[in-house]
């Protein structure tokens, strides 16, 4: 049996001329890789009928850097800093995911101080990521002001993180076996200040944007993703939860300190763009409450359990561990042959690569403007998609 390998050209042959002179001909448009609302270098090949989207073909790989291949050449500790560069908006969570994968493979137990700090950091990063998403979502719907408000508030979190980790975007802070540094002495104070600052701002977000009648008109009922399809099509994170599937690894397979804090999983009902919006807004509130519960209860202890220069050599075998980042489940599959201090194979199951395909299901039938809203509600980060 021969298996035909297709190319992009096969998909983009123009449709036959319409039978009736009144019918319009479908045509293809490249949306991206340079397009303001594809958030980087994603390309969507659209088959349009007038304004209506008939088919979406995502074309990926414009920032493919061969992370998995690079990973085979780097030590485990060195690979952590590569994970910053996948989903740069949840760099700390990616760090944690890789570190946790290594710790699981090596069967290292960390102490409570490390886990608490990691949890706080991850939640701060989740808030930061959602703030940026909120701004960008506003901009994709045509309102420029939310974009700057989102960035303004994100700056506060970034400053806090920068003080402790030393970097603003690619932190490389959470390491296998612990943390790179201890917390900055001002950390707790500043986080509390931030919570006090951001709570009213969240209300303002709602007055400015969530309650706006134009927003409701634009996003309610648009791009519905039902629960069964959402699971089957591989979505995770807020996109899946917006469809009403209660799948949050922080609850399902608690890691870090999530088993010890009280929080609710934000769930949607119908899985439209509005639900995805609401879920993320709600997640910001929940993250604030998680941080509030933990910030005064950071136990004492060491912050690094391994010698920083020690080579890591996990036992032979496959180990898969996953974690809930701001966009969904980041799964890290480490394959060690037991001989080398570098992974034999490292597979990154990134949330965006698996989320983006849902657009081929949700967008057809809607208009170009809706496609932009749906795409934005998936909260894509292209380097995470392409690795």
């Amino acid at each position: 049996m021969t298996i035909a390998i297709r190319t992009l050209e096969d998909l983009t042959r123009p449709s036959a001329t319409p039978d009736s002179p009144l019918a319009t001909q479908e045509y293809f448009v490249n949306m991206g890789p340079q397009h303001p609302s594809t958030h980087g270098v994603l390309k969507l090949l659209l088959k349009l009928d007038g304004e209506t989207v008939r088919e979406v073909i995502p074309v990926l790989g414009y920032v493919h850097r061969g992370m998995e291949k690079v990973g085979e050449h780097l030590g485990y500790r060195q690979f952590v800093h590569m994970s910053d560069r996948m989903d740069y908006l949840s760099a700390l969570m990616n760090n944690w995911a890789v570190s946790r994968a290594v710790e699981t493979a090596m069967k290292i137990e960390t102490n409570e101080r490390i886990e608490t700090i990691r949890t706080i950091m991850a939640e701060l990063q989740r808030i930061q990521s959602h703030q940026l998403w909120w701004g960008v979502f506003g901009m994709d719907l045509g309102a420029f002001t939310p974009f700057l408000y989102g960035f303004r508030d994100r700056e506060h979190v970034t400053d806090i993180l920068e003080k402790t980790t030393g970097a603003r975007l690619t932190m490389n802070y959470i390491q296998p076996g612990g943390l790179m540094f201890d917390l900055h002495p001002d950390f707790q104070k500043e986080v509390k200040e931030f919570i006090a600052y951001f709570r009213p701002k969240l209300k303002e977000y709602e007055t400015l944007f969530s309650e706006n009648v134009i927003v409701h008109k634009r996003v309610k009922g648009v791009g519905v993703l039902d629960a069964k399809t959402a699971i089957s099509i591989g979505t995770t994170g807020p996109v899946l939860r917006a469809s009403g599937v209660d799948y949050d690894l922080r609850k399902r397979e608690p890691y870090g300190m999530y088993s010890k804090v009280k929080f609710e999983v934000a769930l949607g009902t119908t899985g439209d763009t509005w639900d995805r919006y609401q879920v993320r807004i709600e997640e910001m509130k929940q993250s604030l409450s998680i941080i509030e519960q933990l910030i005064d209860n950071i136990p004492e202890g060491k912050t690094m359990l391994m010698k920083p220069g020690a080579k890591i050599k996990p036992p032979e075998g496959i180990s898969y561990s996953h974690m809930e980042t701001a966009r969904g489940v980041l799964g890290i599959m480490l394959v060690s042959d037991g001989k080398d201090h570098r992974p034999y194979r490292i597979h990154l199951r990134t949330p965006n690569y698996n989320n983006i395909w849902s657009i081929t299901h949700t967008a057809p039938g809607w208009r170009i403007a809706d496609l932009v809203a749906i795409l934005s509600s998936l909260d894509i980060v292209v380097p995470d998609m392409d690795r």
Binding site: R77, N172, E211, D246, Q278, P308
Partner: protein
């Protein structure tokens, strides 16, 4: 697992007339938010960067430029042990060592750091057993030629500060040390080598001796 659904509280359907006025009021409320910021110039967050150079302070841990701190005598702590070189994920650090003529011990000749390929992961600083390296927050590093981003971090070739402290005679100490500012030799770049690239030493923090572009133009083919 049963959990509350915080989103979407059940709402009564709103009639068209009430919906219309509700919509209008939501628009006005949104305009109120923006207007609030418009009439409060104190909420402006923009930094006027080149003007605020004096007040702009980077955090202590800012990872922007690698440096090798030299103590008050001008001695560094690097022994040329290559640990940082191994830890570097993308070979941005090249340590060139040499044998001391008298003690026969290994010591640093050139410590070359390529800022152009560095990812600022801080692993070199963390792994250094002698705490000879430090990241600091001097962020004004823009140059017009990427070769100017190759730094030689040590200001002298010779034994590290603790070893030098053991030598009591200042003359003897001087004999052990050779001045180092720039490096012109092979610089491995991720496996390949570029010949004839001149490394530019930029002494950390205090004395800013920057090699100008003319220097590079004069030497490059």
């Amino acid at each position: 697992m049963t959990m509350q659904t915080p989103t979407k509280p059940a709402k009564k359907p709103v009639g068209p007339i009430r919906g219309f006025f509700k919509g209008i009021s939501s628009l006005l409320k949104g305009m109120g938010v923006t207007f609030k910021y418009f009439v409060h110039p104190s909420t402006v967050v923009t930094q006027q960067y080149p003007e605020n150079r004096e007040t702009l302070k980077m955090p202590d841990r800012a990872r922007i430029r690698l440096s090798m701190p030299h103590d008050e005598n001008g001695y560094h702590k690097c022994t040329g042990c290559h640990i940082c070189e191994d830890a570097c994920p993308n070979r941005s650090i090249t340590v060139v060592d040499r044998k001391n003529a008298t003690t026969k011990r290994q010591e640093i000749d050139h410590f070359i750091w390529r800022m152009d390929s560095c990812t600022f992961c801080n692993l070199c600083v963390v792994v250094c057993p002698f705490t000879a390296l430090k990241m600091h927050g001097d962020f004004e590093n823009s140059v017009y030629d990427r070769r100017l981003l190759i730094y030689n971090l040590n200001r002298y070739a010779g034994p590290a500060a603790p070893a030098l402290a053991k030598i009591e005679d200042p003359e003897e100490r001087k004999r052990n040390i050779d001045e180092r500012g720039v490096y012109s030799g092979l610089i491995p770049m991720n496996g390949s080598a570029i010949a004839g690239v001149r490394a530019c030493g930029k002494p950390p923090e205090s004395e800013k001796v920057r090699v100008t572009e003319d220097d590079i133009k004069g030497e490059s083919p």
